[in-house]
Symmetry: C2
């Protein structure tokens, strides 16, 4: 096991501003490209991350601490963000993400400092059964990384034909 | 084809500061983890990107404009950065990358503004044969994206065991 709370927080607190630097001011061509029907563009990934801050990570952590394994936590709707307001700019969304993440990281520190064994506390996932608080926090961290990878992969797809013969050297274009 | 010079530059000029935001101040555990013997950690990826700025992209573009298809450009040593000074900090490397990228993007604008058809000029790649200037610039852009994806994938690997049963939901951990 490699997880420590402080190192997980290092990633969690960097993700929003990293995305702000990368996505703010990009042309619509980059922000709206996707990998085909039913796949997400970069803006929709940000919507999904905001939704997770609101309804997934901290609420589930609080559920574990309050309910233990007694009651499974409610399933998370991974498509809830598809109902988000479409008229907000990417800059506004990234600011929202940054602010709610800051608030949630502060809450995470409080929740995990309350008692010595908080990281080892267990709850019941509706599909997986018993899960630990530290597994949930590890997953929150890797969820950021998986969506950063998704954003750059989706953008790379846009130039698949443009790179000509170099397509075979670019790992990101491997299917 | 989706390539335009201005949109390619949008990505090229964002990558270094994006990496600065994400990697500066991270614990050694994140910066030095890798995917096994012979694979690169995040610091080595940055070394590789700096090496590309020095010896690959702009030099090859200049070669195309000067030599045309007459002489193939010299092969690029993808492992040259392994000889980099190991005692430099990640913060210093990221500053170096930012500065040389700024210089190279400025040079790119000059080279491509010199003549109307510069993007369509052709050269000879030692392995691929005829390639166009715009294919090289498209590849430079996707090369950034592929290495951003690599960095987050390498970091995610570190928590593979820590996420417990969520391993099956995390695309970044798919082999």
């Amino acid at each position: 096991m490699n997880f420590t709370l402080n190192e997980a927080i290092e990633v969690l607190e960097r993700t929003p501003r990293t995305m702000q630097h990368f996505l703010s001011g990009l042309s619509p061509g980059w922000l709206h490209c996707h990998e085909g029907e039913g796949t997400w563009n970069a803006v929709e990934v940000v919507d999904h991350l905001i939704e997770g801050e609101n309804t997934n990570w901290i609420p589930r952590l609080e559920w574990i601490l309050q309910e233990g394994e007694g009651r499974p936590f409610p399933p998370f709707d991974r498509y809830a963000h598809m109902n988000e307001q479409k008229d907000s700019t990417i800059e506004k969304k990234l600011t929202d993400f940054t602010q709610i993440r800051e608030k949630n990281v502060a809450r995470l520190r409080v929740l995990m400092n309350d008692e010595g064994d908080a990281l080892e506390r267990t709850g019941t996932h509706p599909a997986f059964g018993t899960v630990k608080a530290r597994e949930l926090i590890s997953t929150w961290t890797l969820h950021d990384l998986t969506h950063i990878a998704q954003i750059v992969r989706v953008m790379a797809e846009r130039y698949r034909a443009d790179v000509g013969p170099w397509v075979e050297y670019l790992g990101i274009l491997k299917k």
